[in-house]
């Protein structure tokens, strides 16, 4: 019985290896593509960074493909959220199933992060980092789908991660900064706002951190897919390293930073030491 199983496995392995060998030899027999492409690798890389060539018409407005990516990701997320809200959440039980556990754990993660880094006002920042984290994570993973869009030139271009576009990254960084600033003003007044304004480099650092991290993945992926010879096995490693890990790491980094800065902005002002000291001295004198 065991020998028969081993025999079957061996046969399957041999067939698989033969299939690979046949396909590789067929590729070489037909000949690898000559490399004559519409764009050179330099142009592809430059377009990956600047998005000057491949642009999309959005209701008469010429935009980068990343804008379309952003809308598609948001649309997918909102529809999924609505479906979960209608069909799953009303059926939640006190003893959760697998799907409920995943949802609960996700929300608990962001809520916990908010409580840990912003203990004074955790609720609103929890909701914000939940939305931001979900957007960053899923929009980064979105590029794995490789959806195509029609450019103004009439060619097709892959939809990139929205945050791999400098405009998308700036939007995320600035929105986060404005959110922190708003929190500071609402909870601590002008003083809170001024303390946030001191960190004026924050939106720039957040924007370019996101942009740099996601762009590096995009460029490496473009490079790998440009050459046919690099498109065996390597994309799997590249996909995992520059997409999955980036999605998780950038989500965590952005959410942690936002919650920490928000926590500092909304922290109630400490009583001045001078006054406390004076009070202590007065108290001691009274006792004496």
């Amino acid at each position: 019985m065991k020998n028969e199983k081993n025999k079957g496995k061996r046969t399957l392995l041999i067939v698989w290896l033969i299939l690979i060998a046949v396909l590789v030899s067929a590729i070489f027999a037909i000949g690898l593509p000559s490399g004559e492409k519409e764009e050179t690798i330099t142009e592809v890389m430059q377009d990956g960074v600047l998005h000057e060539e491949n642009r999309v018409n959005l209701f008469g407005l010429i935009v980068n493909p990343a804008v379309i990516s952003g809308f598609v990701v948001s649309g997918i997320l909102l529809v999924t959220a609505a479906l979960i809200r209608i069909f799953a959440i009303p059926r939640f039980t006190y003893v959760p199933g697998k799907f409920q556990t995943v949802l609960e754990k996700t929300v608990e993660f962001f809520d916990g992060l908010a409580h840990a880094n912003s203990p004074h006002k955790p609720n609103f920042v929890g909701a914000y980092i939940f939305a931001a984290g979900t957007y960053v994570c899923f929009s980064t993973l979105f590029e794995l789908l490789g959806l195509q869009v029609l450019t103004t030139k009439g060619t097709s271009a892959p939809l990139p991660a929205p945050l791999a576009d400098i405009n998308g990254a700036i939007a995320m960084g600035v929105t986060s900064y404005l959110f922190i600033l708003g929190g500071g003003i609402v909870h601590n007044g002008v003083k809170g706002g001024l303390s946030v304004l001191k960190d004026f480099s924050l939106p720039i650092s957040m924007s370019f951190r996101l942009f740099g991290a996601l762009l590096s993945g995009l460029l490496v992926t473009e490079l790998v897919y440009y050459y046919v010879s690099l498109s065996f096995v390597l994309p799997v490693v590249v996909g995992v390293l520059f997409t999955l890990l980036h999605a998780v790491i950038q989500t965590y980094v952005l959410c942690t930073l936002v919650s920490i800065f928000y926590g500092e902005a909304v922290e109630p002002p400490k009583p001045k030491e001078k006054k406390v000291k004076e009070k202590k001295i007065k108290h001691q004198k009274e006792i004496a």
Partner: protein, 163 residues
């Protein structure tokens, strides 16, 4: 703009994210956190109720143990009292019996003494009669040494037989 930064596109991205933020907050974050808080509250209440019940049970146990201890003490007192009563009763019986025994012994000794005195009295009267009879015989017969000796022997012999 350097790096092809387009503020219109930045604003579009921001608008997109703000819509997403509102949607995700209303559709997912709030309902799930609300559910989590409800569940937390439910289990906290349950825990509080359980703690209260445990405290009540502990109090009941303490009360039971206290009562049990009091009952045990009462029972021990009762047993001690009973033992003392029984011991006293037994002692009274023993004393009474001892008194009766002493009385019986005293009566027996008295009776024995009287009996002995009676026996001695009767023996003495017998002895007097014998002496009187012997004196009569002596007076009646002629008194010779042989006869005296004979009489004397007879007297001795009679006395021995008497005894």
């Amino acid at each position: 703009m350097p790096l092809n930064i387009d503020f219109v596109q930045v604003l579009i991205h921001m608008l997109n994210f703000v819509i997403l933020f509102g949607g995700l907050t209303l559709l997912l974050f709030k309902p799930i956190t609300k559910f989590l808080n409800e569940r937390k509250e439910y289990y906290e209440n349950l825990e509080a109720e359980t703690a209260q019940k445990v405290a009540e049970a502990d109090r009941a146990k303490e009360e039971y143990e206290r009562r049990l201890s009091a009952i045990k003490t009462d029972m021990a007192h009762l047993a001690q009292e009973q033992e003392q009563e029984m011991a006293a009763t037994a002692n009274a019986y023993l004393e009474k019996a001892q008194g009766k025994a002493n009385q019986i012994i005293a009566e027996a000794e008295k009776t024995a003494k009287e009996h002995k005195a009676h026996i001695l009295d009767s023996a003495q009267s017998d002895f007097s009669e014998l002496v009187l009879e012997a004196a009569k015989k002596l007076i009646a017969d002629t008194s010779t040494p042989e006869r005296d000796r004979e009489l004397y022997d007879e007297f001795i012999k009679a006395t021995k037989e008497e005894n």
